[in-house]
């Protein structure tokens, strides 16, 4: 099971909202990252059959997705951006409706399975309009999952959730990624780091990166940050003499160093601390976050 996008473009008037995007997504969670207005939702809408591509093609399981047809659409579970719901309906009634739309043979079992899966049981008797944002999101996930589709398209599924709700929803998505093709759009970097094995970055309609998550981090060449914390005060000029240190901020017994990523200065720094008897307490290199990589790429300091 695969989704294959080939030179996909979408034009609104004169604006190329999606511009020549090609990628293949297989089983597992593929992160789809980009700033607002980058073209994430538009791309997903073309995959799900809501918007027709201006040019290029989409293949779902080897068959073209356009012209859109019910069979292709039934392979997809889709959680649109902002999670649209019928607020006046009750949860069970709504899921029953969606099960009916999919013509499920055993709607009751399907509803039970999905309620269990996303953890809706405690609120099951309620009207959707009366639910908290976190539970609404679960309802949105439930409707996307009710027919057990091989493909899941999730458009910013965690935006606006509090940290507890966030980790619970992410757990569900992670579970889905074990067996399904999951395309997850987000502008939250931690989410990509927490969930995705692979990241696509889109900016101004163009795909600017398509990398495994580790490679993306290492693509952020340039500088890394090293923190040094000692018992006694640090001599700034000695620090600055170390080869590879670009800049440093020394504040008494603490220092924050910007270091050329290719230079490994930590052993040298440790030796210096011992030689000078500064009383080394902590020596730590900051992990480069996808966020940094993302900013670097979308601001075009680095090109793909």
């Amino acid at each position: 099971m695969e989704i294959v996008l080939d030179k996909l473009s979408k034009t609104f008037g004169t604006q190329r909202a999606v511009d020549d995007v090609s990628f293949t997504a297989g089983v597992g969670i593929t992160g789809f990252l980009g700033p607002n207005g980058a073209g994430k939702s538009t791309t997903m809408r073309m995959i799900t059959g809501f918007l027709e591509p201006t040019s290029g093609s989409i293949q779902i399981d080897g068959k073209p997705a356009w012209p859109t047809n019910p069979e292709q659409r039934s392979m997809i579970g889709y959680l649109p951006e902002h999670n649209p719901l019928y607020t006046q309906m009750f949860i069970r009634e709504y899921l029953g409706f969606i099960a009916g739309v999919h013509k499920l043979k055993q709607p009751k079992q399907a509803i039970e399975r999905v309620v269990e899966l996303v953890g809706l049981a405690p609120e099951l008797g309620k009207q959707i309009g009366a639910l908290s944002k976190g539970y609404r999101q679960r309802v949105g996930l439930a409707q996307a999952l009710i027919h057990d589709p091989p493909i899941l398209i999730l458009d910013e599924p965690t935006s606006g959730l509090d940290p507890n709700q966030l980790s619970e929803i992410r757990e569900v998505i992670r579970k889905m990624g074990e067996s399904k093709v999951v395309l997850l759009s987000t502008h939250i970097m931690q989410e990509v780091q927490a969930l995705c094995k692979r990241v696509l970055i889109i900016n101004k309609g163009k795909l600017v990166a398509d990398d495994p998550i580790e490679r993306l981090q290492s693509r952020l060449a340039g500088e890394v940050i090293v923190h040094l914390n000692c018992q006694r005060s640090i001599n700034a000029s000695m620090i600055n003499q170390i080869k590879g240190v670009e800049r440093s901020v020394v504040n008494g017994n603490r220092a924050r160093l910007s270091v050329n990523a290719k230079a490994e200065i930590r052993p040298i720094l440790a030796q210096l601390c011992i030689d000078q008897n500064w009383g080394l307490l902590e020596l730590r290199q900051e992990e480069t976050s996808v966020e940094d990589a993302f900013q670097a790429i979308t601001q075009q300091r680095i090109t793909a």
């Binding site: 799900t48 809501f50 027709e52 039934s74 719901l85 019928y86 739309v101």
Partner: protein, 243 residues
């Protein structure tokens, strides 16, 4: 289509609009038939429901747009249209499911007026002195009228995400298609058979024909064609959404 129909109808019946539609229709017609002296049949001394069928198109002009105004506009506004169109449903299934729910609610609104039929039947002297055949025809006419107005209303509702726009546009279109051609045919430019053709383009001509108790094939074809055309156009509007 069945699941969309069920969802819509249950939606009507669990919200104010459903009962409002039924209640308003019943009360308004009750007032006109029995209370307002200008139109009351108690002051006529004739056992007939002609007034009901005379006035119903005017009431439908308000009632049906109120029923249909939200059907697609609200889906657009709440963005649930995206949900529906990405499910394994065709635009035609969505439109027909919603359409039949609107027709069913209209039929539910017409149903209680049988009370009036019964009242007039009992009031007649001798009892039962009214033309039941014509009345059945008239009810059929009402149902046809409601179906065609619902189709027009669906179309109006598909054009914008604003329910008020959906309502006003539906009322205007229903008015034009119902009475417009009749008035147009009175213009001096349309003479002879041309006059007749223009008249036949309007709903009123066919409504009157069916209400007379004459169920004629051309009238039925007219209703099916016009309703079908508006529904088909509505599906085109939904498909155009994808562009």
């Amino acid at each position: 289509m069945g699941s969309v129909f069920r969802k819509e109808l249950l939606g009507f019946l669990s919200s104010l609009i459903g009962y409002l539609a039924i209640g308003v229709f019943l009360v308004l017609l009750g007032l006109i038939l029995f209370v307002f002296p200008d139109t009351s049949l108690l002051s006529y001394n004739f056992a007939t429901l002609d007034q009901l069928f005379e006035i119903a198109p005017w009431v439908f002009l308000i009632l049906i747009p109120a029923i249909t105004m939200g059907s697609l506009a609200e889906e657009r506004q709440q963005r649930t249209l995206e949900l529906l169109l990405t499910k394994p449903l065709t635009p035609l299934q969505i439109v027909l499911g919603k359409y039949f729910a609107c027709v069913a609610l209209s039929a539910l609104a017409i149903l209680p007026t049988f009370v009036y039929y019964y009242t007039v039947y009992e009031l007649g002297s001798p009892k039962g002195n009214l033309d039941s055949g014509a009345i059945i025809g008239s009810y059929l006419g009402l149902l046809f009228l409601a179906s065609i107005f619902c189709a027009i209303g669906m179309f109006a509702s598909s054009l914008s995400q604003n329910q008020i726009v959906g309502f006003l546009l539906a009322a205007l279109l229903c008015f034009l298609v119902h009475f417009g051609f009749q008035y147009l045919s009175n213009l001096p430019v349309f003479v002879g058979s041309l006059d007749n053709i223009v008249q036949k383009l309007g709903i009123e001509y066919h409504y009157r024909s069916i209400s007379r108790g004459l169920i004629l094939v051309p009238d039925i074809i007219y209703f099916l064609t016009v309703a079908g055309w508006f529904l088909f156009t509505t599906t085109l509007v939904l498909k155009k959404q994808r562009a």
